[in-house]
Amino acid sequence: MKKKVIKILLSLFLFLIAILFKFDNLWITRVLFILSYLIVGLEILKKAFRNIFRGKVFDENFLMTIATIGAFFIEELPEAVAVMLFYQVGEFFQSLAVKKSRKSIATLMDIRPDYANLYIDGNLKKVNPDEVKINDIIVIKPGEKIPLDGIIIEGKTSLDTKALTGESMPRSVEEQDEVLSGSINLVGLIKLKVTKIFSESNVSKILNLVENASNKKSKSENFITKFAKFYTPIVVMSALLIAIGMPLITKESFKSSIYPALSFLVVSCPCALVISIPLSFFASLGGASKMGILIKGSNYIEELSKVDTIVFDKTGTLTKGVFAIQKIESVGISKEELLKYASYAENYSTHPIALALKATYNSKINESKIKNVQELPGFGVKAEIDKHQVLVGNVKLMEENKIKFKKSNDIGTILYIAVDGKYKGYILIADEIKEDAKVTIKKLKQNGIKKTIMLTGDRKNVSENISKDLMLDEVYSDLLPQDKVAKLEELINDKKDSNKVAFVGDGINDAPVLALADIGIAMGGLGADSAIEASDIVIMTDEPKKIVSAIKLSHKTMRVVKENIVFAILIKVVVLILAVLGISTMWEAVFADVGVSVLAIINALRSLKVNKEQKI
């Protein structure tokens, strides 16, 4: 790299001397030009020479050599040197840009663990993660990467999952918690019982996904591949035609026709396109993974940019999939007291509703105060708490015990509570809507999504209520998994335009629907295997708002790709036409070649940048 800079600078220095000082002796100028040319171009000449014997006539080095040597012959020395010099400058910038983007991709891949500390009979042995078996015990010290998936059997710590989820908040974990490979242990020493071998661990899956992502090529990339195949031969043939044909028509000397022909050779590489289009997609995949969005191929970026209908699953996607207290209405006592009675009564139950109560109550339960607990299936619970008779349950329980109460119209599961035969209020428990669900739907509408639909197996009143709250366009409830497939098929078939339908699910029982949709987006969470496999895009953080980010990114990427295609082809064609007309010189041709490449690369790298606006 450094050597190249010195060569370029030295060559440029000699070139400038030759141009600025108009030496009387023509030979001094000539020698300076030739020296300048050789310093920077010898490497290219060598490569070109090597390539002729291998029959590679359309090789870039070879074409540059012909163009410059041709320029020497028609006594256009400054042009010859300039073409070579700027070609090398362009190549230099190009390799800088490639290096930079390769580096930022490498940081994405930086989650690969190098070793695992295997725990054998009280000793630690550093081994390759490949060698660790299921049920082996490994130790992870602060600052180390978690090499394999497992369950904590000793210690607690917080984990940096940024590389996996894009989430900068550390996650606290303790004994019995499952941890995923690829996260970084921040503070405490933990002992882990391995649950998956390395090749099936989370980190291997993600690496595999990122590394192979760009193998699925988009239509734009395939177009460029085809374009490149024909472009160079056509331009080179045209150069030949011009060199030989023009003098026959215009009756001018061959010398004047060689000049535009040489310009053709200079612009004959489709490099700007060949490098910048895949780079735009790659940068976009990289930018997405920085936000915790894994996209499985460039083709999905292209498809995603065409989505105008998004179908959501309800539970686990728009809602948290866990029950939580939504409302407490008390009569005659405080809300805290009502919650306390309910939590005490449900203390021994493991039902999700009981868990939701206890999670909100969050104080120590004095079990000596609870007596005579009676679970009444289909009704609720009866218990004696602190010498009070407490009833917690549904409408039937209240009616059965002849309690006078007011029926609530709220949607969800309602627990009525009576103490000593008197109604004291109710607690509404329901699946909670994710915090960002509402803003997601709103932002989707602002970003070109025409229709948002929810499919769910849940009851009608619950689903319609959520749908209204989130302002969804359509909702279909009481669906069995096979009904979801049928409904989505119907939605796809009903579409008349070429726009695409995306399905968003949590991947647990959505695999067929995820596969059926044009784009399947899974709430991958931390590690639902079926989700990662069945979908095209995985949202690692479970946040619906990431869909907005992904869609915005796809629009931006496609815009960059189109800009680059139009810009590169347009400039080249314009320069070619001007060259034929004798208006543009080889200088413009150099710009059309390397200048355009460099600009297109800089433009492509924009997709890697994730700005605040995209993060929402």
């Binding site: 195949k229 060949v274 780079l279």
Partner: protein
Amino acid sequence: MKSNFKIKGLDCANCALELERTIGKIKGVINVNINFMTERMELIYDENSKDEIISKVKKVAKKEEPDIEIEEI
């Protein structure tokens, strides 16, 4: 059968594309994908003549791009 390779020293995108095309023409190669950015090659081929195909691929690549190094991973 599918194998992955690391390609070192690949410094021009168009060359990668041409190399991909040439390797794709080798008998027994079903599909080849060269990723210029990650410097990787994914090769899908007829497993009956694995060694023969891989050595042919390496030979062809060496001839096309003398400066690169190919290593199976």
